[in-house]
């Protein structure tokens, strides 16, 4: 299982990287962590003609808090996000989700932005960006542009990026003050892709749900925002009955597929179960807003 030959470039500046992408178009693939791309190259499933290795761009390795959002550079490793005090304090949902990505060795090399660009609908980062209402900065021949999570993920391993564009940064808004959160997933083994993953952010004010955001992985070609369930929650009184109602709404909303590990029916059912559990956990963590 050795990769097919390719032309290798290790640009030292972002501009140099962009010039390479511009020159080679969809023949070129960007290599950051490589934890998804290299296995596919080893299996000769992916045979990019040109590999643009951005690991020599230290300028892209940063994790900062700015303007109510965590700004994560394209080269910031998942493990750094997992262990950072900033993430724990301002976005514990992101920490809980990152921590369940693959294994230690994967997270030491894998990047948050790389996982987002790869757009595997079963991957935690796609849902985390979606549920927090995050966005990315894509830089390409036409300069920089911002893409919201909702417009970024198109389908399996497919984003709205132009092949000549590079995501240089992802922004994860911090949790609203007092909001409760939960990331709950079920995977066959510790570290596997989740069969179903659910992220919840819940704000409570004056005894009712002020704002609820729910996103799921593993139940469609992209991360799924459970808008019907969110509407069912808005303004309602928290409690098990409400969580079950939201679970039913999620089951109606998702369009999962079959695969050898789980049927669509299983994923639909479990999507509801995990939503109910995630809402309960998020509610337990929510502090009545002042």
């Amino acid at each position: 299982m050795k990769p097919a030959a390719f032309e290798y470039h290790a640009p030292r500046t972002v501009d140099e990287a962009l010039a390479l992408l511009d020159a080679h178009g969809d023949e070129a693939k960007v290599l950051a962590g490589g934890q998804s791309l290299v296995p596919m190259m080893n299996m000769r499933l992916a045979r990019p003609g040109v590999v643009v290795d951005i690991n020599r761009l230290p300028a892209l390795d940063y994790l900062t808090l700015d303007g109510g959002a965590l700004r994560i550079g394209a080269l910031c490793r998942q493990r750094a996000v997992e262990r950072s005090a900033l993430t724990a304090e301002h976005c514990p949902l992101l920490r809980d989700a990152v921590r369940l990505i693959g294994h230690l060795q994967i997270r030491n090399r894998g990047t948050v932005v790389g996982s987002i660009a790869h757009a595997d609908p079963a991957a935690e980062m796609t849902a985390a960006l979606t549920i927090l209402g995050g966005e990315v900065t894509a830089t390409g021949p036409g300069g920089e542009r911002t893409i919201d999570a909702d417009e970024l993920f198109v389908s399996y391993l497919t984003t709205s990026l132009d092949p000549r564009e590079l995501i240089t940064e992802a922004r994860f808004p911090v949790l609203p003050a007092g909001a409760g959160w939960s990331w709950t997933e079920i995977a066959r083994r510790h570290g596997d892709f989740a069969l179903v993953g659910v992220g919840v952010v819940l704000s409570v004010r004056a005894g009712v749900v002020a704002d609820a955001r729910i996103a799921l992985t593993g139940v469609g070609p992209t991360p799924v925002r459970a808008t019907h369930a969110e509407r069912a929650l808005a303004g309602a009184a928290p409690g098990d009955a409400l969580w079950e109602q939201a679970a039913e709404a999620v089951r109606a909303e998702v369009e999962p597929d079959d695969d050898i590990h789980a049927s669509a029916a299983y994923r639909r059912h479990v999507a509801g179960v995990l939503t109910g559990r995630a809402l309960a956990e998020a509610h337990g963590r929510a502090r009545e807003a002042a």
Binding site: L45, A46, R47, Y156, L157, T158, P221, I260
Partner: protein, 147 residues
């Protein structure tokens, strides 16, 4: 791998029937179809580059149309071998008039072999549906302008 779906098209069954039998439409709307040359009645030699993101495979093979019942029913068989193994797809297309337009009910049985089956299994169902969806979306746009 069984797939199915429905699609409404803004054109009469006659127009839809004509377009899906027309090589020109197939060339334009079949995702990744590089070459399509007629080799006989309702039979074509085809070169298809299928794939998503970094995962691409070029398949050389044949496309045949059969069980033709004009304006109502058609069977499409697409076979090809290539880098990541081989692919065999059988599609049944049924057309029904629906108001101004046409309701298309399609079922597909796609058999993928070799590397793609053994490794890409997790996404094959979804990718298959996506590619067929792209075909119908292109057809819809194409019919929308002509009708």
């Amino acid at each position: 791998m069984k797939l199915e779906g429905t699609q409404t098209l803004p054109a009469t069954v006659e127009t839809v029937w004509k377009s899906i039998n027309d090589p020109e439409t197939l060339r334009r709307c079949t995702p990744g179809l590089k070459e399509l040359s007629e080799t006989g009645p309702d039979a074509y030699a085809a070169t298809l580059t299928v794939g998503i993101a970094a995962v691409k495979g070029t398949y050389k093979g044949t496309l045949t149309l059969s069980e033709k019942q004009p304006t109502t029913h058609l069977k499409i068989i697409l076979e090809g071998t290539g880098g990541p193994g081989f692919m065999k797809g059988e599609g049944i297309v049924d057309l029904e008039p629906q108001g101004e337009g046409t309701l298309v009910k399609w079922t597909g049985d796609v058999q993928v072999g070799g590397l793609m089956a053994g490794v890409g299994q997790r996404m094959l169902g979804g990718v298959g549906k996506m590619l067929i969806g792209q075909f119908f979306k292109c057809l819809e746009q194409h019919l929308g302008t002509d009708a």
